[in-house]
């Protein structure tokens, strides 16, 4: 029974996304002259982001990485506004979770701070580049990036408790070590990290992509913390959220000052994805994880392919 409820929910979410695709594909929408009332689009945005919120939790990804390619592909909003909303969406999601994770030790402020400093500088650079690029080049780059993200998500392996022989000198100087209590196992977990300089270089690259495309960057932050620095997986996931909140704040100001943030897009999206995430958490125990993950990867591949072809002028 719970399994069928989970399957029905996934089917429902697929239908919501399909409905959005049909609305988007209508000739009037393609011409930019919608025959429907203005409020239909924010309502559709709320429905789709609600579904994305459910899927994002079940698939273990941030909603931001799904929002930009899918809304950019299926809705009539210009990519400038979609990227601005994407940053605010990822930011608000991270802010909602970060306080509790900080309080129970599953996020480390000290671990996130150096990465946040590097990432926020490069995210500003990324935002400036993104707002200066012509739309076709931007769509092409976004499409290629989203397809690469789908590949990374498909191929990536994670390690619950990586072996780290000792802090590297920079990690030791920055006191990147500590202890958190794992409620699942009931024991305290000691952690330390290494390869800090290489990780900071990786965070710099991730920051550029986050700012340029308005993406949440949990898909990249978690593997860098976990696989490069050797932080435990739970700490990596928690600290990624805090890192994302600082990095996206920096880039968001660039979009805000340019006028690329429309409250009518941001508000329904933020509310939709947060409500969806709450449902997703409840479904986490019963939903078929493999099917959800497959759906997310397929959505990313489709949206990425669509953006790439749009940028290349093949599928305008």
């Amino acid at each position: 029974m719970p399994q069928s409820l989970g399957r029905n929910t996934i089917t429902g979410m697929r239908l919501v996304l399909l409905a959005a695709a049909i609305v988007w594909a209508s000739p009037a929408a393609a011409a930019g002259q919608s025959p429907v009332a203005w409020w239909v689009w924010p309502l559709a945005l709320f429905a789709v982001t609600f579904a994305l919120g459910v899927v994002a939790v079940l698939a273990g990804v941030g909603g931001g990485v799904l929002f930009v390619p899918i809304v950019g592909a299926f809705f009539p909003f210009h990519l400038d506004f979609v990227r601005g909303a994407g940053l605010l969406l990822a930011l608000s999601g991270a802010l909602a979770a970060a306080p509790a994770l900080l309080a129970n030790g599953l996020t480390s402020l000290r671990l996130a701070m150096p990465a946040a400093l590097v990432g926020s500088v490069t995210s500003i650079v990324g935002a400036l580049i993104g707002l200066a690029l012509p739309a076709d080049i931007l769509y092409t780059a976004l499409g290629a990036t989203i397809l690469a993200i789908a590949l990374v998500m498909w191929r990536s392996r994670r390690s619950d408790h990586p072996e780290v022989p000792a802090n590297d000198p920079l990690g030791a100087a920055l006191r990147l070590h500590g202890v958190y209590h794992d409620q699942a196992t009931g024991r305290d977990v000691e952690w330390k990290v290494w390869r800090t300089p290489a990780a900071l270089a990786a965070f710099a690259g991730v920051g550029v992509l986050a700012g340029m495309f308005g993406l949440g960057a949990g898909w990249a932050n978690v593997p860098v913390f976990n696989l490069v620095m050797g932080a435990p997986l739970k700490l990596s996931v928690g600290s990624s959220g805090l890192l994302l909140s600082v990095v996206d704040s920096s880039a968001a100001w660039i979009y805000l000052h340019r006028g690329a943030v429309l409250p009518m897009l941001v508000a329904p999206s933020v509310i939709g994805i947060m409500l969806g995430a709450r449902i997703g958490v409840r479904l986490l125990r019963i939903a078929p994880a493999a099917a959800v993950r497959g759906t997310v990867l397929a959505l990313l591949a489709f949206a990425g392919g669509r953006a790439l072809l749009k940028g290349l002028g093949v599928w305008a």
Binding site: H78, L256, V270
Partner: protein, 134 residues
């Protein structure tokens, strides 16, 4: 009261309170804007003809302000909504400002320097002083 608290605890407390406030004010702002309580600067009926344009052309068509000039438009529903959205972006800066003295009290000078540098970056982004941003 915060004298002996770990900076992480202080950050968590301030971020939690700020995020709650930002969400509550965002909902209120959406009600004022979409509910028609406050008239928007850009009429809602015009939005479908405008939101498909690049941001530069959107600004040309609407006369929408840039930088911090929108502060002067807070009588309009859309800019009340924008002010609520800005709260999300300002929260990290507030939390970093709050933990800087805590790191100094704990004698963690390198972490304090990181916090100070982060504050400079966030202030530069928020104040729109970054070269090329205008």
């Amino acid at each position: 009261m915060d004298l002996k608290r770990d900076p992480q605890d202080i950050y968590a407390r301030w971020l939690g309170a700020g995020a709650w406030l930002a969400f509550a004010l965002s909902l209120l702002a959406l009600f004022l804007y979409a509910g028609g309580v406050l008239a928007p600067f850009v009429p809602l009926e015009r939005l479908p003809q405008l939101w498909g344009l690049p941001v530069e052309r959107f600004r040309e068509q609407t006369g929408a302000p840039t930088d911090w000039d929108w502060i002067g438009y807070l009588r309009y529903g859309d800019y009340v909504g924008l002010a609520a959205v800005c709260l999300f972006a300002v929260l990290s800066l507030v939390c970093y400002l709050r933990v800087l003295p805590a790191f100094l009290r704990h004698g963690e000078r390198l972490q304090a320097a990181l916090v100070a540098a982060q504050i400079v970056v966030l202030l530069a982004a928020a104040s729109h002083l970054i070269p090329g941003a205008r």
